[in-house]
């Protein structure tokens, strides 16, 4: 006789213990520290902070360790933690024009005031596995000039705007909704879209951006400017009556210059897409900028033909915490729903089987 | 003296100078077929969108007299009322049947949808209506469970007509219903339309650039050019004796077979 199985609680406890063991790996090898992850995997930390919507390098590093290197899982950890945090104050908008630059480039002009500042980048490396990294050793730092200073770097898109060649983005001082507090409803404002894209999955946005380049809703992008560096974060609490600087954070900003629009009554102007990420996260910022511009299709009366131009499609599916949750929920027991389907399919097959015998 | 069905005064929507339509006024009577003709860019599609409740005008008004005799100001009414109208007393035949059909469900479901929306809850009755209407639009009733994408262009168009007429509308809008079809297919479709319009006493507003279609279906014509109506009158009068220089140009440029 079949006896109902019990013991789910014990099974779960054991699963947790096995997970801890897998995460630790061979105990003869030194344990990875959160400080090591923070210092030596900065690009992973940047991704987790950006999509976790929380700038805290140490917590992001901890999440990466706890998640055994699964970045989407780490992002989930950071987001869940974020839910518990009290809101203190909104900051003033960060001023990327006054960024302390570590990297700055523009593909639209051979030379721009301030020049092309390569900074630390994989761009010119040859992708050959460096087996010397298998051995650990002292790392020789770069040669630097003692008094090196960066020249002033005015915004490239600002230079275009001075000539009237690109629309200025206007600040209408409207209050900005917070998609982490209030549910997103369609049609969304540009601010809400940018919030969703900023915390959206890098791979998804990359693929959508790529699809626009391959013809699924072309908008002729050029990398107008990419900047990476530190910006100050300021708050302006009512009680004080003056703004206060909390410190600096590293951000990556990308402005794409896109296909121009115009009409009989309006002179032609370039359009733009915008991307922003925490830390050093160039691919994310670029993908985001491509998708931002793509989602402005209706604003510019462009025909909406591709997935990257459809707001509901992009915004409903770009959050990898939501996506991973729903995909992975298929692992939950579904035997009752499946039982219903079994009963139905057996019933539907009955008449057909009956007639076949005739 | 019967009352008009549609009462349009000074209707305007302009996208740019002479792009769109302006100053359009007319009355449409039950059972009357009004053709709107003109070349592309004349504003006839804009006018059709305004008349059918799809685009709000910048100026002017549209009044519709519903089944119970009450006048409805089309754009003072709510979105709900307009959508209900479009599902019941009105029909809209799209130029491309794919825009006017549910391509993913069967022909029978396409025809039955309006009835289901009105609360018909009997499968046999819905299927019966489907078979009946397929017959009326000359599609083999055996195809009732087939998907529209298995139909030819002409058949899809006839299915679209059935889908609209099943709710016994009083007013049907048609946007180039024969555009994109072979000449012989067009002829058959026009014949069918003419028969149905007479039999069901439908009022129709039909947009077309094809004067042969206008001649066959329309009682009256409005000739549009660059956002304005340049001439109106009985179809035969306009086609046989056009007064406005543009109308004359239009008529004379039609290739004689």
């Amino acid at each position: 006789m079949y006896v109902a199985v019990k013991g789910g609680e014990q099974a779960i406890d054991n699963a947790h213990r096995l997970l801890a063991k897998k995460r630790r790996g061979d105990t003869a090898i030194p344990e990875l520290s959160v400080a090591q992850i923070r210092e030596q995997l900065p690009l992973a930390v940047a991704r987790v902070m950006t999509e976790g919507s929380l700038f805290d390098e140490e917590l992001a590093a901890l999440a990466i360790k706890q998640a055994a290197g699964d970045l989407v899982e780490a992002i989930f950890l950071l987001r869940a933690y974020r839910t518990t945090l009290p809101r203190f104050s909104p900051s003033l908008p960060i001023d990327t024009a006054h960024m302390v630059l570590s990297r700055r480039l523009s593909a639209t002009f051979k030379d721009v005031p301030g020049g092309q500042l390569l900074g630390p980048t994989f761009d010119y490396t040859h992708r050959l596995l460096d087996f010397s990294l298998l051995a650990e050793g002292a790392y020789p730092g770069p040669q630097t000039t003692a008094d090196a200073r960066i020249e002033a770097c005015p915004r490239v898109l600002g230079l275009l705007a001075k000539e009237g060649l690109i629309q200025n983005e206007a600040d209408d001082n409207a209050s900005v909704a917070d998609i982490t507090r209030d549910p997103l409803e369609y049609p969304a404002s540009r601010a809400e879209r940018l919030q969703a894209l900023a915390r959206g999955d890098e791979g998804f946005l990359l693929a959508l951006g790529y699809s626009t380049q391959r013809g699924y809703g072309r908008n002729h992008p050029f990398a107008g400017e990419i900047r990476i560096g530190d910006v100050e974060v300021w708050i302006d609490p009512e009680e004080l009556g003056f703004p206060v600087c909390l410190g600096s954070i590293e951000v990556t900003e990308c402005e794409m210059v896109n296909q121009f629009v115009g009409s009989a009554t309006q002179l032609a102007q370039f359009t733009r897409g915008y991307g922003l990420a925490f830390g050093h996260a160039e691919r994310k910022a670029m993908g985001m900028a491509l998708v931002d511009r793509s989602l402005r299709a209706e604003e510019y009366n462009e025909e909406v033909v591709s997935p990257a131009q459809r707001e509901e499609f992009v915004l409903a599916h770009c959050d990898n915490v939501e996506a991973a949750g729903f995909v992975s929920h298929l692992k939950l027991p579904h035997y009752v729903d499946f039982q219903s389907e079994l009963e139905l399919i057996r019933k539907l097959r009955q008449p057909a089987e009956g007639t076949r015998h005739e | 003296m019967s009352q008009p069905l549609l009462h349009v005064r000074d209707l305007s929507l302009l996208y740019g100078p002479e792009k769109g339509c302006q100053g359009v006024s007319f009355d449409l009577y039950p059972g009357e077929v009004l053709g709107i003709v003109g070349e592309s860019g004349s504003g006839k599609s804009t006018l059709l969108s305004l008349l059918s409740g799809r685009l709000p005008p910048q100026a002017g008004s549209i009044g519709y007299r519903s089944k119970d005799g009450e006048w409805l100001d089309l754009y003072s009414a709510s979105e709900a009322e307009r959508r209900t109208l479009l599902r019941t007393e009105w029909g809209f035949v799209e130029q491309n049947p794919r825009d006017g059909l549910r391509m993913g469900v069967s022909a029978g479901a396409n025809i039955g949808e309006r009835l289901m929306a009105q609360g018909v809850r009997n499968y046999a009755q819905l299927r019966g209506a489907g078979l009946d209407w397929l017959g009326q639009v000359e599609i083999d009733p055996q195809r009732i469970d087939d998907l529209p994408r298995t139909f030819s262009g002409g058949m899809q168009q006839r299915l679209q007509i059935a889908r609209n007429l099943v709710s016994s509308p009083r007013l049907v809008f048609m946007d180039e219903p024969t555009g994109g079809l072979d000449v012989s297919v067009q002829a058959r479709l026009l014949d069918l339309l003419r028969g149905l319009v007479r039999e069901l006493d439908l009022a129709v507003v039909i947009v077309t650039h094809d004067l042969a279609v206008a001649r066959l279906l329309a009682d009256r014509l409005m000739v549009m050019r660059r956002s304005r109506v340049v001439e109106t009158g009985l179809t035969d009068q306009i086609l046989d004796d056009p007064q406005h220089p543009y109308s004359q140009l239009l008529v004379s440029s039609v290739l004689q077979p």
Binding site: P183, A316, H334, Y335 | V105, E113, L126, D145
Partner: protein, 288 residues
């Protein structure tokens, strides 16, 4: 209190039931709106929870918002108290709220469920919280949220019956066996969550309050007590519930929803009650 009811100690590091009071208030406001408009989907500012989206975060946020210190909580998944996710969620509230938990249906004041309604009839002082993956019943016919919102607002539900018609034309029967759409209070079409259609009749005129939470989609809705809930159908193809040729192999019930088990390589089937507490109760009563 029987031996299936326990009262654990609450972890003081968290606010009662994990969510902050502002968030709970926001959810309760949304719930009041939902109760006032039966079957209507109310958007709410859902929060990330420590369980993944799709695993019950919507249900958990609703439970967290309504739970009080004196409540007794039952959590089931697929009808069983002991499935891993039910255990996980029950532990979560035991730890963050310290409320008494139980497996006995009549003892519970709040029942959070995934995909089943208990066999034991509910009472007037009970609240059911359903976990909902896709709150929109029209979603699979119409992918656009803007369009489905308009359809609900305008009572434009023709397309719902189009799907049912199509099923009959293709299979001879309506081919929906779970998440079977219902009409609530003769106004809104609602997705009752992926409960088997077998459970749909339990929603109609129930003395209990039914709350539905979709965390990922950020929508909640409600069916107040004693509300009319009818499953969509055609007059000549009326709504039918599932029936089994077997009885439960453990308690002998012929009335409950049965799970099918495969016992050996030859494919030998056995059928047992999905509602594990109901089954165990019947065994107890049979032995008395």
């Amino acid at each position: 209190m029987n031996d299936l009811t326990q009262t654990p100690a609450r972890d003081p590091a968290y606010n009662f039931a994990y969510l902050d009071e502002q968030t709970k208030r926001m959810i309760r406001r949304a719930l009041l709106k939902a109760v006032a408009i039966p079957g209507y989907q109310v958007p709410f500012g859902g929060r990330e929870m420590p369980l993944p989206y799709g695993w019950g975060t919507g249900g958990m946020q609703l439970t967290a918002a309504i739970l009080g210190a004196d409540d007794v909580l039952k959590v089931i998944d697929q009808g069983a108290d002991d499935t891993t996710n039910a255990v996980s969620i029950r532990r979560f509230f035991a730890r963050t709220a310290g409320v008494a938990t139980t497996e006995a249906t009549p003892e519970a004041t709040v029942i959070q469920t995934r995909h089943r309604i208990p066999e034991t009839p509910l009472q007037a002082d009970q609240i059911m919280v359903y976990q909902v993956p896709i709150p929109e019943p029209l979603r699979f016919i119409e992918p656009s949220e803007t369009e489905t919102r308009t359809m609900h607002a305008l009572n434009d539900y023709g397309v719902m019956h189009v799907k049912l018609y199509e099923d009959i034309a293709t299979f001879g029967h309506i081919a929906t066996s779970y998440a079977y759409p219902v009409m609530v209070d003769e106004r809104y079409v609602m997705d009752p969550s992926p409960i088997p259609k077998f459970d749909n009749p339990k929603l109609d005129m129930s003395p209990a309050l039914m709350l539905f939470g979709a965390g990922r989609e950020k929508r909640l809705y409600a069916v107040p007590p004693y509300t009319q809930v009818t499953s969509l159908d055609f007059e000549d193809h009326p709504f039918e519930v599932q029936k089994w040729a077997h009885n439960c192999a453990i308690c002998g019930s012929h009335e409950s929803f049965l799970d099918e088990l495969i016992l050996d390589d030859a494919g030998t089937q056995s059928f047992v009650c999905s509602d594990t507490w109901y089954c165990a109760q019947r065994v107890k009563e049979n032995n008395q």
